[in-house]
Symmetry: C2
Subunit: 344 residues, 2 copies
C-alpha cells in the first residue's frame, strides 16, 4: 500500500520532441511529474523513495548494450559535440534510423542514438538515465511490496515505460517499468497479466513479452491507424511462438468517450479472467481523459473510477505503475481516485 | 552528350532537416541546384529539359504505394493539419518510425510519413513530387540517350536519389535516379554497373539491387561507423541470393583525402572490370571535396578529375546522375570538370 516516488526522477527535464515537424517542449515534463506528486500529497497520500536494488531487475527485461547506451549517451553526446564548431547546442535526438534488415550498429553517438531509439520523442538529457533508473526502482519496489503483502502498491513511474522496447527508447519512455514489475512478480508467481489502459498502445510491453505465455499483455487504446504509435496495436497482433494468444489489443476510435472505453475494458477483463493470473500489473495511463490536452479523448473522471473498481474486483495482488497522462486540471486527481479504489 | 535539367526541379524548396537535435535549412536546397546549373552554363554547357515519358520507368524501381504517397503526401498533410488548432505550421516530417517486425501501415498521414521515410532529412513540401519526378525524367532521358548514342550523358538530378529505397525517402532523396537509370539501361543491355562516388553510402541503390546479379552496385564512401547513413555501407554487405557477390562497399576514413579516396576508386574499378558490364551509371556525388562544407573530407579538385579520367577509361556507355555535393566555391566546377572529361 505504498506509493513509490523519488525526487531523482525529476532530473529528466527540459526535454523536447518533434511533433508535426516542429521541435516542441515535451509534454512528459518534470513539471508534470511534480504536479502529480503534489496533487497526490494534497489528497493525503504519502510518497516514499524506493530502495536501490541495483540493475539486475532492469537487465532481466532490457538488453545490456541498450542500458549501457542510456547510461552514457548524454556524456558521449556532449563529448562529441559540446565544444566543436559543428555543435549546435541542439538536443540529443536521433535523425536517422536503421531501415533495412541486417543493419549494423555504428560507433558514432549520432548514429547510435538512432539505433537505440524508435522515434523523435526520446530526447536524452543529463538526468535521463538517473530518472529512468529511479522510476524503474519504484516499479521494482512496488512489485516486491505486492509480493510481500498481497496488497496493491503504486509506483509514480516517470519517465513512463510502456513504449520502451528491450533495446530502444521511444514515446517519452526509456525503461519499461510495467515489464520490469511483471518480470519481478514472475519470480514468485507463475502467471502475470499486464493491463495497459493508457490511451496509446503499449507497444514496448507487447514486444517484450510477445513470445511468452507466462505474461499476458492486454492493451486498450485509441486505434493506431490514426494514433501514436501507429505501426502496432492492431487486433491481429496476438503473440507468436509460445506466446501465441497471449497478447491482446483492444481499440476504440479517436476521440472516444466512456462507452467505447469501458467496452474495451470489459473485453480486457474477460481476457484476464480467462487467463487466471496470480498477479496483475496495471499500466495506468490517464491520457484518455476528456481533460487531457494531449490525449484528446473524452473519457470522464467517473469512468476512470469505474474502471478502477472493475479492476479492483479481480482481487489480485496488483502493481500499479504510472504511464501517460498530461496537462489537465484533474491529472493528479484521476490517479488519486484510482489509488483510493485500491486503498493505496 | 546531353545534360538534362528541368526548372521544375526547383519546386522542391525551402526544406528543412533535423541535425544534431535542431531543425535546420536543408543543405540540399533549390539554391544549390540553381548554382550548379548556373556554373555549368558559365562553363559552356547546354542544359536541356528532358521529355516526359511517364511513370513506367519509375515504377520499375519504386513501389506503387510509395509513389502514390509521394504524389499526395503534401496535400494530405495540409488537409489534415493546415486549418486546425492543432496545426503548427510545422514541416511535413515524420516523428515515429516502424520499429518491430510485422508493423502495419497506418491511415493517418502523420503515421504514413514515418512508414515511407527513413530519417529526418526527407521533408515533403508542395513541390517535392514534381521536382523528384523531373529529376527522374532526366535520369531516364540520359539513359535513353546513352543507349541511342553510346556516348555519356548527364542528368543534373535534384533532389538526388541514392539514399531512396524502393519504398522510403531519406537523406534528401525521394526517387532513386541512379537505380531508375540502371533499370532503364537494362532494357537493352544485360549487365549494368553502378559506381557511386558520393561521400555517403548509396544505401538505397544497394537495397534495390541487393538480390540481383545483373546490376553490380559499388559504393565508395566515408566509413558508416561514424558517418551517415550509419547502418549500412559496411564491407560485409555483399548482396544476397542471386545477388550474392554483386554489391561492394569500399570505405575510407572520416576526413580522408586523395590517397584513400583514389585507393577506393582503384578497388571499385577492379571490381567493375571483373564484372565486365555493358553500361555504367556513375552516381556522381562531389561532397568528398575539401571545399564542401557539409561533406568534410579532403579530396582535391585534381583528384576528382583523375577519378573521372579513370572511369572514362572504361570506355563504356555511361549515364552520369548527380547525387550530393553542397555549399562550396567549386561545387559546379567539380561537376563541370567531370563532364569535360566525358566530353559532355
Amino acid at each position: 500500500m505504498t506509493i513509490f516516488w523519488s525526487e531523482e526522477q525529476l532530473r529528466h527535464r527540459d526535454t523536447h520532441f518533434v511533433q508535426l515537424g516542429a521541435i516542441r517542449a515535451s509534454r512528459e515534463s518534470a513539471e508534470r511529474a511534480a504536479s502529480i506528486a503534489a496533487t497526490l500529497r494534497t489528497r493525503g497520500k504519502v510518497l516514499c523513495a524506493p530502495p536501490d536494488v541495483g540493475m539486475d531487475p532492469i537487465l532481466a527485461v532490457h538488453d545490456t548494450d541498450y542500458v549501457e547506451f542510456l547510461r552514457n549517451a548524454w556524456d558521449r553526446w556532449r563529448a562529441e559535440f559540446g565544444d566543436t564548431p559543428f555543435g549546435t547546442g541542439g538536443h540529443a535526438m536521433p535523425n536517422v534510423f536503421p531501415q533495412v534488415p541486417h543493419a549494423q550498429k555504428p560507433d558514432l553517438i549520432v548514429g547510435q542514438i538512432g539505433w537505440y531509439t524508435g522515434d523523435m520523442a526520446a530526447e536524452i538529457v543529463s538526468g535521463t538515465w538517473t530518472a529512468a533508473y529511479w522510476a524503474a526502482q519504484g516499479a521494482i519496489a512496488a512489485a516486491r511490496g505486492v509480493l510481500q503483502t498481497g496488497r496493491a502498491h503504486y509506483a509514480l513511474c516517470r519517465p513512463p515505460g510502456h513504449h520502451a522496447l528491450a533495446g530502444k527508447a521511444m514515446g517519452f519512455c526509456y525503461l519499461n517499468n510495467a515489464a520490469i514489475a511483471a518480470q519481478e512478480l514472475r519470480k514468485a508467481t507463475p502467471r502475470v497479466a499486464i493491463l495497459d489502459v493508457d490511451v496509446h498502445h503499449g507497444n514496448g510491453t507487447q514486444a517484450i513479452f510477445y513470445d511468452r505465455a507466462d505474461v499476458l499483455t492486454v492493451s486498450m487504446h485509441s486505434h493506431p491507424r490514426s494514433y501514436y504509435p501507429f505501426f502496432t496495436g492492431y487486433a491481429e497482433e496476438r503473440g507468436e511462438g509460445a506466446g501465441a494468444g497471449y497478447n491482446l489489443n483492444l481499440t476504440y476510435d479517436f476521440g472516444a468517450g466512456d462507452t467505447p472505453f469501458l467496452s474495451a475494458l470489459d473485453r480486457s477483463i474477460a481476457a484476464i479472467t480467462d487467463f487466471a493470473p496470480d498477479a496483475l500489473v496495471l499500466a495506468l495511463g490517464v491520457d484518455a481523459s476528456e481533460h487531457d490536452t494531449h490525449g484528446r479523448h473524452a473519457v470522464t473522471r467517473a469512468a476512470f473510477t469505474s474502471m478502477a473498481e472493475r479492476i479492483r474486483a479481480f482481487d489480485l495482488p496488483t502493481v500499479i505503475v504510472q504511464e501517460g497522462g498530461y496537462e489537465s486540471p484533474v491529472l493528479g486527481h484521476l490517479i488519486a481516485d484510482v489509488l483510493d479504489v485500491f486503498d493505496i
